[in-house]
């Protein structure tokens, strides 16, 4: 257990270092995803290779001018509004302060997008906290026919099942603001685990491919709608 924690910590540090190097060389206009750092005790920081691999994949398969980097941002940060998309994941509790609730709502209504992936155990806390942001707009399940599932790669059955979790069918939920999908939440699926380096979760190649394709769909949707 200790070894695993050390290994995980080492990989985080390594990735942070690599990211810093990449950041120095990157072009400012290139697309990047902001990993949302939140309070509550959950591991918001896990699998930092997820965004890097996804963005690399999207560069090749969708032509997106992205910088494959891991960056995190807090809701209180001045840099929040420089990210067109935020990504949130974890296993535990989430707590948004009143200010953070307002900031997140402001970010989303101005044009930002939030993708949340339940890494297993995030569901209850996320649903509770996101309701503070949009108290009058519940999460609604997206039907299989929703264009997000078909905009680049085809997912006729909706969200792909990447990890077992409770062996329930995978689901995708959304919050719409003025007709635009501003929050997308995957449950009982965990695509972001599929984006991580292969040695982290040991997913079969086809599962990882599916996860990366699905992630590309999310990016294409965000950058065309």
């Amino acid at each position: 257990m200790v070894y695993c924690s050390v290994k995980r910590l080492t990989s985080v540090i390594l990735f942070q270092g690599l990211t810093s190097i990449i950041l120095l060389a990157q072009i400012e206009s290139q697309f990047r995803i902001g990993r949302l750092k939140y309070s509550g005790g959950s591991d918001w920081y896990n699998d930092p290779s997820a965004e890097i691999n996804l963005l690399s994949y999207a560069r090749v398969h969708a032509g997106i001018d992205a910088v494959p980097t891991y960056e995190f941002v807090e809701l209180s940060s001045e840099k929040l509004f420089t990210y067109p998309m935020l990504f949130m994941t974890g296993h535990g509790n989430i707590v948004f302060s009143e200010t953070e609730v307002q900031r997140l709502r402001e970010y989303l209504t101005r044009g930002g997008f939030l993708y949340v992936d339940d890494d297993y155990g995030l569901d209850k806390a996320f649903r509770r906290e996101i309701q503070k942001v949009f108290p009058n707009t519940p999460l609604v399940e997206l039907p299989f026919s929703h264009p997000l599932y078909h905009c680049w790669f085809e997912f006729p059955s909706g969200v792909p099942k990447i990890h077992a979790h409770d062996d329930n069918p995978p689901q995708g939920f959304g919050i719409f603001y003025e007709g635009r999908l501003v929050v997308f939440y995957t449950f009982e699926s965990n695509p972001s685990d599929g984006w991580a380096d292969p040695e982290i979760h040991h997913d079969p190649p086809e599962v990882r491919e599916k996860a990366l394709q699905f992630g590309t769909n999310i990016l294409v949707w965000v950058m065309t709608h």
């Binding site: 072009i27 969708a62 032509g63 101005r110 294409v220 065309t224």
Partner: protein, 720 residues
């Protein structure tokens, strides 16, 4: 012999007393003079002084003189005849207008009323005096029956003449929105009403009401709600059609029965051509109908082009694409069709020339890239050029320099040299361009101040040359250095193009606080950009149109025009000639300048029909513009909405004013009633003329003359 009376503000007894006092004082003053004067001269001076002061005293008393004299006048009878179109309806007795003519010609009115003056008036939309001898030649073509107005205008007649009664010959169907009863009572004389027409409901099928949209989009389903009124028919099938110039566009059959009188019908049609169109509504004609004139109606619809289409071609998915699309789609009248290039070079979804053909504007965002197929790019550019589509080109970091060259014939810049490293820049408005529509996104605020709040964006320095005739309206600056043009625009003929040498503009929407900026400035920028690209300047600057789309036959067809040059200054020296055609008939109208670019003109009443007009605007014999349009001239059908005599109203008019109601065939009953109101002797009428001396300048002049004369005499007599 006239009697004269006078009134003053001061009691007369006081005035007389004061006059005596003035007389005494005048005598006292001149009873002894130095040098002594003969009596006659002293009397003259006394008299002058007394007269002068008397006039002054009278003026101060504000006199009003009334002269009353009596003259004998014969009493008058007013014959008031309804001259509206409803009087052409046929009843069981025959046509109403013929009944009226018969009433007027058959009876020797002047013989019956030898001791009276007969005044004849006709009324429809207004009152008109006619010679009694020619009253039976009325045309009964008035478009409305405005009885309240006629009675109101009759008051002046009643005031001047000794009117003992008004004989109103009408079917009683007033089309005015107010009841005539009030004016009738105010008239102050009895009204003897002669009802013309049947009271029995006759068989008729009519269009009661038509309701439709005033504006719609082409290729969209438009509802028309028609109310058909049927009286006297049982189990009759009535067809209701909507027709335009090409034929029937919608039809429905309704079965009418005696129980139900009004039948709502809803029809739908799909207009395909833009512009203002007149649609006629027709119900079938059935034997036995009292009139067919109410079997048709019409309505106008302005058909707009179905949603404007903006085609966006993106080199790859990017936040600029998403934000631009969202901003465009805020306008519900806009349809955005997005094509995204795949890394392989193919475009998704599949692209065809028809997409460009149906577009109102084309956006290239970050396109073309390295992956773009040359053939595809050439085809796109060729289509845009051939179809003269307005073009917006956002040059981003990923645009391929080599492929860029294919676009250069469509855009207002030339590019030489390679793309350099990206730079972070700010917008800078070129002096003088603050009023350019793309820059002036907020007319209420200081434009430079607004643009100075814009967050930085990105550009790739290029060696850019602006083509002749193009305008640089904003530049990119880094620090205090102007790097290169940012927004370049050009209008060639009717085609506009705009290049944005900057990207990452999506950040303007995320980073600018809408609460501080009064909304999303980015959205306003995109909207004004699109508006500039898709607006045909000529259409806005030159406007010639009829004042309304539908006229009736009784009114003039009026035109108005507003003319501005390219700098939006008014054109006051243009010649505007409007040629109006209807089948083979041609009418011409020259508009008169009113100043400030405004012109007006009118054609006399035109017959019913659909008309097209073509307005030519020339300045110094050079053609500036030509404007086309359509309008319709129809008959007002209000007169045929009610086909029976409104006996109740006519009876009320009579009873409320002390008159009597008779039906047309019984008109002779009126004669003894009217004759009984005539006396055997002429009536003496008092006429009063008032002379107001309060402001009579001549009295003042006389007074001044008298005092001056006194003074001259005093000087001559050596008293001064």
């Amino acid at each position: 012999m006239p009697s004269i009376s006078w009134a003053t503000s001061i009691p007369k007894i006081v005035i007389i007393f004061l006059l005596l006092v003035v007389a005494f004082l005048s005598w006292w003053y001149y009873r002894r003079t130095v040098p002594p004067l003969p009596m006659n001269r002293r009397v003259l001076l006394m008299t002058l002084r007394w007269c002068g002061f008397s006039i002054l005293l009278l003026l101060l008393s504000q006199p009003l003189i009334s002269v009353l004299w009596k003259r004998s006048v014969l009493p008058s009878i007013v014959i008031l005849v309804d001259n509206s179109k409803s009087m052409t309806v046929s009843d069981t007795d025959g046509k109403r207008n013929e009944v009226v003519r018969s009433l007027l010609s058959r009876f020797e009115w002047k013989e019956h009323f030898r001791n009276a003056l007969l005044h004849a008036y006709s009324f429809d939309s207004k009152l008109k005096q006619v010679a009694f001898s020619s009253i039976d030649s009325l045309e009964f073509n008035g478009e409305e029956t405005n009885l309240p107005r006629a009675l109101q205008e009759l008051k002046t007649v009643v005031a001047k003449q000794d009117v003992i009664g008004v004989v109103l010959i009408s079917d009683g169907n007033s089309t005015a929105s107010v009841s005539p009863l009030y004016e009738a009572v105010q008239l102050g004389v009895p009204i003897y009403t002669v009802g013309v027409g049947d009271t029995i409901v006759q068989r008729d099928i009519a269009i009661e009401k038509i309701r439709s949209n005033e504006v719609c989009y082409s290729h969209s389903r438009v509802p028309v709600h028609i109310t058909v009124r049927s009286t006297g028919f049982t189990n009759e099938r009535v067809s209701v059609q909507v027709r335009d110039e090409s034929g029937t566009v919608a039809m429905h059959t309704v079965e009418v029965s005696e129980e139900k009188q009004e039948y709502p019908v809803e029809l739908f049609f799909v207009p395909t051509k833009e512009g203002v169109h007149t649609y006629n509504v027709l119900v079938s004609q059935h034997r036995g109908e009292v009139t067919y004139k109410n079997n048709r109606g019409s309505f106008d619809i302005k058909v707009l082009k179905s949603k404007r289409t903006i085609t966006v071609v993106a080199g790859s998915p990017s936040p600029d694409v998403a934000f631009m699309r969202r901003s465009l789609e805020l306008d519900t009248l806009l349809r955005v069709v997005l094509f995204v290039q795949h890394p392989s070079g193919t475009i998704r979804p599949q692209f065809t020339p028809r997409h460009i053909e149906q577009s109102d504007c084309v956006f290239f965002l970050g396109y073309p890239t390295v992956a773009t197929s040359t053939e595809q790019l050439q085809e796109l550019c060729s289509l845009c050029s051939q179809m003269n589509k307005p073009l917006l080109w956002m040059v981003s970091r990923t645009v391929d320099f080599e492929k860029m060259k294919f676009l250069l014939s469509l855009v207002p810049i030339e590019i030489r040299g390679n793309i350099q490293a990206e730079k972070v820049v700010f917008p800078s408005i070129v002096p003088g361009m603050e009023v350019h529509p793309i820059i002036a996104i907020d007319q209420q605020k200081d434009i430079r101040a607004t643009w100075s709040e814009f967050p930085p964006y990105y550009t790739v320095p290029l060696s850019v040359t602006v083509k002749p005739g193009a305008q640089v309206i904003a530049e990119s600056k880094s620090g205090n250095t102007q790097l290169q043009p940012f927004i370049v625009v050009q209008t060639v003929g009717s085609r506009k193009s705009c290049v944005l040498l900057g990207y990452g503009l999506w950040r303007w929407r995320m980073l600018m606080n809408p609460d501080v900026m009064g909304g999303y400035v980015y959205d306003r920028f995109v909207r004004t950009l699109l508006q500039w690209l898709t607006t045909n300047d000529d259409e806005q600057r030159i406007r010639v149109q009829p004042v309304k789309r539908q006229f009736v036959t009784s009114e003039k067809v009026e035109f108005e025009a507003q003319l501005y040059d390219e700098a939006y200054r008014s054109i006051d020296n243009a010649e505007v000639i409007v040629a109006v055609t209807n089948n083979n008939e041609l009418y011409e109208c020259i508009l008169t300048p009113l100043g400030n670019g405004q012109y007006e003109g009118a054609l006399d009443q035109l017959p019913t029909g659909n008309y097209s007009y073509r307005a030519r605007v020339t300045v110094h014999n050079l053609s500036v513009s030509t404007v086309n349009g359509k309008f319709f001239v129809g008959e007002s059908s209000d007169e045929f909405r009610e086909l029976t005599m409104n006996k109740q109203l006519l009876q009320l008019l009579a009873t409320r004013t002390g008159g009597t109601f008779v039906e047309a065939h019984d008109i002779q009953r009126l004669f003894p009633l009217l004759q009984s109101r005539l006396s055997s002797k002429p009536v003496m009428r008092d006429e009063v003329v008032e002379i107001d001396l309060r402001s009579a300048l001549w009295m003042l002049v006389v007074g001044v003359f008298i005092f001056t004369s006194e003074w001259i005499l005093r000087r001559n007599y050596g008293l001064l």
